[in-house]
Amino acid sequence: MSKQVELLQGTLDMLILKAVSLGGLHGYGVLLRLQQLTGGRLQIQQGSLYPALYRLERKGLITSEWGESENKRRAKFYRLSAAGRKQLKAETALWNDFSAVVAGVLRAVPGAS
């Protein structure tokens, strides 16, 4: 297993939005999807996943409905809403800008400027 990365504060919401944008998922599914997407390199506090989901649903960024899980259990499925799609797009752009700027700064070598 490769080295684990700490989750940056405030990025969990964005990752959840991305995870559910690829198709409806229940809570545990979100966790699996994120682990799969990050290759298991991202440390996610399982206990903080649900408050984040509730918060996003409350804000109207994701919607939920009850359905049946793979093993025939009643499960709550989350799906990206139109507002969530917009938010995800905006946050992705912001993140890309931000990481580019930060990376640029960190690449700087003494005397180069």
Binding site: G27, Y28, Q46, S48, Y50, Y54, R58, N71
Partner: protein, 881 residues
């Protein structure tokens, strides 16, 4: 709100989290971990399940709700723990809120409410106006407006009139109204049953003949709510009329407060009156077209009015007085007679009720403050273990609001009881005022906002106090060592001062109003009001003008005078204090009128012995006798004011008075007597000029006549024998308005009695509240000073000395507050001066009695804690910390 789905929320959340953990466990087991180990790891990696749930709840916005619920629970628990405190607070606040709601209900009904008709905002009254005011236009002008005005959608007319109504062989005087056929159509009033009137009913020869509609109240009370009343024929002033509909009672006319029994199309009213081009007896109301502005409508009406006036023969003076121009007045609230009559007393009562509420609010604040002090240790503990100050404030305010909510609910119940009494109060007597005081949104909103204001006001001071608390100090001490104590005591005293001052204002106000009423009741009327029975006799319509009616008048007097217990009796066309009045214009040789007004005089036709019956002295000349019959020389009697006005110091006997406002030119009467002045209608106004004529020589046909009988005993007991005797004179006579003179006078003082009675009740409530407040602060002081008092007693202070010490404190506090209140009383007195009678706003006697009353109550309220202090056992008192 998700509050109702709370259980569902919890179950769903639980299921979701469980699924997560179980799925994880299953996955772990699948990867080869033992079941036990998998379960352990799943739990550990998830973290605290409860913490996660809590965060979810918070994310969902449920935390505030939970806190509110906890606050409410705590509030109810504390209220239950000190029921005495709660009872006093709730009761006093409920009285305050109830008084305000009740008075505001009346205020709303009289002053604010729009007529329940279609689009009341587009209705206007069309009035002819001049220097002497505004009045409805004559009927021909109404017809002109109705038929030709283009800015109005419709123009309708109405006019109240007593109507003789015969149905089922019973005859009675109904409160009737003439209406133009389109009246109810224009207002958009739907009938309860049957049909309403329509424009075609203006023609006498409709398919159903003459028709009428009756009010719901009359339908219920006269016809027992029987639906077969439709199609029934009744006789109105002798004309057969078919009842075709029942109108919801409250919107029978546009006169708020005035009950109407039956409405008949104008076609059946007196045709002479309808043809008269200068008679003012109508109210005309019009509905503006949506596109028409009020100015445009006025201009058009004015033009029609000018063309109408071109064909009217009228004296230039009269034209200036009454027929100068047209004015339009908004009609959304109906005629404003009732509003004008009650706007001042109701405003005064609303202010007084507001003061009572303020006193109740202050009372609640000081009680809550005292309790916050008692719970200081409790608050300190909660602060010390980490409760937020915001939460403490919120909890206090919640508690106050809970108390207020209970009080408001109780207050509304009290207001309903009060309103029932008020409705009865207004409906009493011959000129009943019917008010609809059912609860409405406006009244409820008023109560609600009062309640919230009170709750916040009373809850915030103690809450802030609690929040400022230093937990260390609060935890340490007994009652003595708490840092904020002296400040709280000061605030508490300030509140009590405010309370006592408020009750001083209310008591002094009540005193002034009561004194005014007493003064008015004692006014010298110029006649003796005690023991006089008064009633009215109306003949059947067909008897009017017939010799039978004339004979009946003498017959009535003869019969009545024979009834045992009747000392004397007389007839008059205008009974004093009955609300009836009649005016005329006269010319007196040698008298030069300065203004048109100088020619005006009140007029009544009276029988011999009338003055004697009332106890009005004949000052000069003689009374009328039986010899002054219809064909005898015309004679008149003046009252003193009229005699002095027209004849100055000359002897009026033998002088000639000519009536100038009638077509006949020969109405010259010789003055044969002068009688003492007596008040006619308004106790507050000076005596007006009066001319009396003998009944058979009346200048106007007599349609009804008033009878006054002086009785040996209680006049009320004679009303039945009198009624029977009068009816036995002629079966066509109708006896109405039976009352005693004293009652009739009482009715003219309705407003004064309303204000005096209510302000007295308010004053009493304020007095009780002030005593509670005073008692509270003194009792608290005694508790706080237990050690000190213990030392005093130990050092030899006498019991009575201790009582006196506390009593002195209470009295000093009260006296100070009373002094503080005096300028406020004087200021309010100045404002209310116009409503007072025979008493100055700074009347020392009233102020002194109010102050004395307060001091006596204060003494009672202070002696109780004083006694408790004096009974302290010094050894126990000293050992207390």
């Amino acid at each position: 709100m998700r509050i109702w789905r709370r259980k569902q929320f919890e179950a769903d959340m639980d299921a979701e989290l469980r699924l997560h953990i179980e799925s994880y466990v299953a996955d772990l087991v699948r990867s080869g971990v033992s079941v036990e180990e998998a379960k352990r790891r799943a739990r550990a990696e998830f973290g605290s399940l409860e913490a996660s749930k809590d965060e979810c709840r918070q994310a969902w916005g449920l935390q505030r709700l939970d806190e509110l619920r906890a606050d409410l629970r705590l509030a109810f628990r504390t209220i239950r723990r000190s029921p005495g405190f709660a009872a006093i607070t709730v009761l006093s606040l409920a009285l305050g809120i109830g008084a305000n709601t009740a008075i505001f209900g009346v205020f709303d009904a009289v002053m604010l409410r729009l007529l329940p008709v279609r689009e009341p905002g587009r209705l206007v009254f069309v009035q002819t106006a001049g220097t002497s005011g505004r009045d409805g236009p004559p009927y021909p002008l109404f017809e002109l407006l109705r038929d030709q005005a283009t800015t109005f959608e419709a123009v309708a007319a109405f006019s109240g009139s007593a109507m003789e109504l015969t149905a089922d062989r019973g005859r009675e005087l109904a409160r009737g109204m003439w209406v133009s056929g389109n009246f109810y159509e224009m207002l958009g009033v739907r009938p309860l049953i049957g049909r309403s009137l329509s424009a075609s009913d203006d023609q006498t020869a409709g398919p159903e003949g003459a028709v009428a509609v009756i009010s719901r109240a009359y339908w219920q009370q006269r016809f027992g709510g029987d639906p077969t009343v439709l199609g029934r024929t009744v006789y109105v002033n002798g004309h057969a009329v078919t009842i075709v509909g029942v109108i919801p009672a409250e919107i029978m006319s546009l006169e708020p407060g005035r009950p109407v029994d039956i409405a008949v199309p104008m076609a059946f009213s007196d045709p002479r009156q309808r043809r008269d081009r200068t008679a003012l007896w109508l109210f005309v109301v019009a509905r503006l077209k949506p596109a028409a502005g009020i100015e445009q409508a006025r201009a058009e009406s004015e033009a029609l009015f000018r063309s109408f006036m071109a064909g009217v023969q009228i004296l230039p003076e009269a034209r200036k007085r009454l027929f100068d121009h047209i004015e339009l007045a908004p009609a959304a609230k109906g005629l404003n007679g009732l509003r004008r009559q009650f706007s001042k007393p109701l405003t005064a009562l609303l202010i007084l009720a507001g003061l009572v509420l303020l006193a109740a609010c202050v009372n609640m604040t000081s009680l809550m403050l005292a309790r916050a002090l008692a719970r200081q240790r409790d608050f300190a503990v909660r602060l010390a273990i980490g409760a937020g100050r915001g939460r403490l404030i919120r909890q206090n305010v919640t508690e106050a609001l809970v108390l207020v909510a209970i009080s408001a609910a109780l207050g509304i119940v009290l207001a309903r009881i009060g309103d029932t009494a008020l409705v009865a109060f207004f409906a009493e007597g011959g000129h009943a005022i019917v008010l609809d005081l059912s609860l409405n949104v406006r009244v409820l909103l008023f109560t609600l906002s009062l309640g919230v204001l009170c709750g916040l006001a009373a809850g915030i001071a103690p809450a802030l106090r609690a929040a400022r608390l230093d937990p260390a100090a609060g935890l340490h001490g007994g009652s003595r060592s708490i840092a904020g104590n002296r400040v709280s005591m000061k605030l508490g005293r300030a509140l009590v001062v405010a309370q006592v001052a408020l009750s001083m204002v209310l008591l002094a106000g009540a005193g002034l109003f009561i004194r005014s009423l007493r003064q008015l009741e004692k006014v010298d009327l110029g006649f003796d009001r005690v023991g006089v029975l008064s009633l009215e006799v109306a003949p059947e319509q067909r008897l009017l003008g017939s010799p039978e009616w004339l004979a009946a008048q003498t017959g009535i007097l003869e019969r009545v005078r024979q009834i045992p217990g009747v000392r004397s009796a007389g007839l008059t066309t205008i009974s004093p204090m009955s609300g009836r009045d009649r005016g005329a214009f006269v010319e007196v040789p040698g008298f030069v009128p300065q203004t048109e007004r100088d020619k005006a005089i009140h007029m009544a036709a009276v029988s011999p012995e009338y003055f004697e019956t009332l106890g009005v002295p004949v000052l000069l000349g003689r009374d009328f006798t039986a010899a002054d019959h219809g064909s005898a020389p015309k004679v008149a009697i003046l009252n003193e004011t009229a005699a002095r006005f027209y004849f100055d110091s000359a002897n009026p006997i033998g002088g000639k008075v000519r009536f100038t406002n009638y077509p006949r030119r020969d109405l010259v009467y010789e003055v044969v007597g002068v009688v003492g002045d007596s008040l006619h209608d308004n106790l507050r106004e000076p005596v007006s000029r009066f001319i009396y004529l003998p009944v058979p020589q009346s200048v106007e046909p007599i349609r009804r006549i008033g009878l006054a009988a002086r009785c040996a005993g209680d006049p009320a007991g004679l009303s039945e024998p009198l009624r029977r005797q009068i009816q036995s004179v002629h079966p066509g006579l109708l006896v109405t308005s039976v009352s005693t003179m004293e009652k009739q006078i009482g009715q003219t003082l309705l407003r004064e009695r309303l204000v005096a009675t209510l302000s007295m009740a308010f004053g009493a409530v304020a007095l009780v509240l002030a005593s509670i407040g005073l008692y509270g602060i003194l009792a608290y002081g005694v508790t706080r000073r237990t050690n000190e008092i213990g030392i005093r007693i130990a050092l030899g202070a006498t019991r009575s000395g201790v009582v006196w010490m506390i009593l002195r404190e209470g009295l000093a506090l009260t006296a100070g507050s009373v002094l503080l209140a005096v300028p406020v009383v004087l200021a309010i007195g100045q404002v209310a001066k116009a409503s007072l009678y025979g008493v100055e706003p700074h009347d020392p006697l009233t102020l002194a009695s109010a102050a004395l009353l307060l001091l006596v109550w204060a003494a009672v309220a202070s002696v109780l804690p004083g006694r408790r202090a004096s009974l302290l056992d010094p050894s126990t008192a000293l050992r207390r910390d």
